[in-house]
C-alpha cells in the first residue's frame, strides 16, 4: 500500500516536472498559427505516412511469394533512411533559402531554426516544424514508389546507397525547383498542387531508368511471375487511396476551401479511373480484372495529384478518364519495349503524373482557387506552356540522373542478385526470412 502511494507520488512529481517543459513550445509559438490548419495538416501527415507501407503491400502482393517480404522490408528501410536524411539535410536542400533557383541553402541543416512558428514563405498558418514533417513523408513515399521497378532482384547494399543518393541529389533539387520559394520551375508559373511532377514523374521516370540499368529479372516470364496475393494488393491499394486524401487534401496546407475541393476531386478522379480501367480490360480481355480495378483507382489518384487544388468536377472526371486510358496503354507500351519495370511504376506514376501535369494546364480554373491560374479551357495559354516545360525538365533530369547514378553504383558494388539467388528469392537470400511458413 505504501509502495503504491510512493509510486504515484513519484509519477506525480515527474508529471509536475514536465509541465514547464510542455509549456516551452506553447510559449515559443508567437500566436499566429491557426489551430484548425495545424490539426488538419497533422492528420494529413499521418495519412501520407501510411502510404509508404501501403505501397509495399500494394507491390508485394503482385510479386512471387518468395519476394514479398523484401518489398515490405525495403519500404521500412526507406522510411528509416529518408527520414534521417530529410531532417539532417534534405529539408534544407528542398526548402532552404533559394540559391539561383536550383537548390535550397544550408540554413535548415539539422532543422536549425525550423521551429514552432510558421515559416514566412511556406504554409504561413502552421508551425514550420509541421510543414517540414508533412513534406518529409512526401520525400519518403517518392523513394518507396521506385522500389516497384527494381523488385525481386536488387541487392540490399546497392539499394541502400541508391536510396541515400537519390533522395539527396535527385528528389531534393526537383522539390526545390517546383515547390521551393524561388525554385526555377515554380517561378516559371508551373502548378503542381501535390506532387504530379515532384513525386510521380520523378519516381516513375526514375523507375524506368532503374529498370533499364538493372535489366530483366531472370524469373520474368517464367510462368511463376504472377501476383501471389491479390487481396494484399487490394489492401495496399485501399490504404493508398485513404492516404491520398491526406496527400492532396493536406497539400492545401490549411483546413480551407481549397482543401475540400482537393479532397472531393481526388475521389472523383480515382473513381472515374477505376471504372474506366475496368471497362477497358473488359473490352480488351473479356473480363474486368480486380487487380486492374484497383490499379485504375491508383492511376486516377496519381493523375489528379497535380491538379487537385485547381480543377472542378468536370476537370476531375476527364482527368480520371484519361488516367484509365493512358496508364493502361502505358503498361502495354512498357511490355512492348521489353523493360522489366516489374510493377509498372512508370506506366502508372510516370504516365499518370505526366497526364495530370499536362491536364492541369488544360483544366485549371481560378474559380476553384484564386491562387491558381486558368488553363487552356478557361482562356489561359501561359500555364500549359510552363506545365510542358516542367514535365520535360523533370523527365530529363530524373531519367538522366538516375541512369548515371545506378551505372556509377554498379562500378563499385554488385547491383543485382545472381540467377540462383533470384530463383530462391530475395526474402531468404537478403533477409534470411520467408513470408509464409
Amino acid at each position: 500500500m505504501i509502495g503504491r502511494v510512493a509510486r504515484i507520488a513519484i509519477i506525480a512529481a515527474f508529471l509536475l516536472l514536465l509541465i514547464p517543459a510542455l509549456a516551452v513550445p506553447a510559449a515559443a509559438a508567437d500566436g499566429n498559427i491557426d489551430k484548425a490548419d495545424t490539426a488538419w495538416v497533422l492528420v494529413c501527415t499521418a495519412l501520407v505516412f501510411i502510404m509508404t507501407p501501403a505501397v509495399a503491400l500494394f507491390y508485394g502482393g503482385m510479386l512471387r511469394k518468395e519476394s514479398v517480404l523484401s518489398m515490405l522490408g525495403q519500404s521500412i528501410i526507406v522510411i528509416g533512411i529518408v527520414t534521417v536524411i530529410w531532417v539532417v539535410i534534405g529539408y534544407s536542400l528542398a526548402f532552404g533559402p533559394d540559391m539561383n533557383g536550383v537548390i535550397g541553402g544550408p540554413d535548415f541543416v539539422m532543422l536549425r531554426s525550423v521551429g514552432l512558428t510558421p515559416s514566412p514563405v511556406y504554409a504561413t498558418s502552421i508551425p514550420q516544424l509541421e510543414f517540414m514533417m508533412f513534406q518529409g513523408v512526401f520525400a519518403i513515399v517518392t523513394v518507396a514508389l521506385i522500389l516497384g521497378a527494381v523488385a525481386e532482384r536488387m541487392r540490399s547494399k546497392a539499394l541502400i546507397v541508391f536510396i541515400v543518393i537519390w533522395s539527396i541529389l535527385i528528389y531534393n533539387p526537383i522539390a526545390h525547383w517546383v515547390w521551393g520559394s524561388g525554385g526555377w520551375i515554380g517561378k516559371l508559373g508551373a502548378l503542381d498542387f501535390a506532387g504530379g511532377t515532384v513525386v510521380h514523374i520523378a519516381s516513375g521516370v526514375s523507375a524506368l531508368a532503374a529498370a533499364m540499368v538493372l535489366g530483366k529479372r531472370f524469373t520474368a516470364g517464367d510462368g511463376n511471375d504472377v501476383p501471389h496475393n491479390i487481396p494484399l494488393v487490394i489492401l495496399g491499394g485501399a490504404l493508398l487511396w485513404v492516404g491520398w486524401f491526406g496527400f492532396n487534401g493536406g497539400s492545401a496546407l490549411a483546413a480551407n476551401e481549397v482543401a475540400v475541393n482537393a479532397f472531393v476531386v481526388t475521389q472523383i478522379a480515382a473513381a472515374t479511373a477505376a471504372v474506366t480501367w475496368g471497362t477497358i480490360s473488359w473490352l480488351h480481355l473479356g473480363r474486368p480484372g480486380v487487380l486492374g480495378l484497383i490499379t485504375g483507382g491508383i492511376a486516377g489518384l496519381v493523375a489528379i495529384t497535380p491538379a487537385a487544388g485547381y480543377v472542378d468536377t468536370t476537370g476531375a472526371i476527364i482527368i480520371g478518364l484519361g488516367a484509365g486510358i493512358f496508364c493502361y496503354l502505358g503498361i502495354i507500351v512498357r511490355r512492348r519495349i521489353r523493360v522489366d519495370d516489374a510493377l509498372d511504376v512508370w506506366g502508372i506514376h510516370g504516365v499518370g503524373g505526366t497526364w495530370g501535369a499536362i491536364a492541369t494546364g488544360i483544366f485549371a480554373t481560378t474559380a476553384v482557387n484564386s491562387a491558381g491560374k486558368n488553363g487552356l479551357l478557361f482562356g489561359g495559354t501561359d500555364l500549359i506552356v510552363s506545365q510542358l516545360i516542367a514535365v520535360a525538365a523533370v523527365w530529363a533530369f530524373a531519367f538522366g540522373a538516375t541512369f548515371v547514378l545506378l551505372k556509377a553504383i554498379g562500378k563499385f558494388t554488385e547491383l543485382r542478385l545472381n540467377k540462383d539467388e533470384e530463383r530462391i528469392g530475395a526474402d531468404i537470400i537478403q533477409h534470411g526470412e520467408s513470408a509464409y511458413s
Partner: protein, 112 residues
C-alpha cells in the same frame, strides 16, 4: 491389397468422401495437386495482359483397400466425381505389398 488413387475436381471431394464412407471406407489421404491432362489451359489476367495456366489445381485422394473392395471403391468414386465435362479426373489402381499399422503392429488386411 490395392491402392486406389483418384485425381478429382476440388469441388467433388466432399461427394467422394461421403460416398466412400457410405460403403465403409473412411480411411484416406487427400493431397492438393496441380496437373495437366485433356483439359485445355485457361487464361488469367495480370494488368492489361493475359497469361495461360497450364497446370490445373485438383485433389488427389488415395486409399488402400482389400483386393475385392477395389472395384467397388473405384466405382463409387466414378459415380461421385463425375460431371461429364473434360477434366473429371482419373483413377489409378496399384497393388500394395504390405501394410503395417503403427499403433498395433498389425499387418496386412487387418491393418487397413
Amino acid at each position: 491389397m490395392k491402392k486406389v488413387e483418384a485425381v478429382i475436381r476440388r469441388e467433388k471431394l466432399n461427394n467422394v468422401r461421403d460416398a466412400l464412407e457410405s460403403i465403409g471406407v473412411p480411411s484416406m489421404n487427400v493431397i492438393e495437386v496441380s496437373g495437366s491432362g485433356e483439359q485445355k489451359e485457361f487464361k488469367q489476367q495480370w494488368r492489361a495482359s493475359e497469361y495461360s495456366v497450364h497446370l490445373i489445381p485438383r485433389i488427389r485422394l488415395e486409399t488402400v483397400v482389400s483386393d475385392q473392395n477395389a472395384e467397388a471403391v473405384a466405382h463409387e468414386i466414378l459415380k461421385a466425381a463425375w460431371t461429364g465435362s473434360v477434366g473429371d479426373g482419373i483413377i489409378f489402381i496399384t497393388p500394395i505389398e504390405e501394410v503395417v499399422r503403427v499403433r498395433t503392429g498389425e499387418k496386412g488386411e487387418d491393418a487397413i
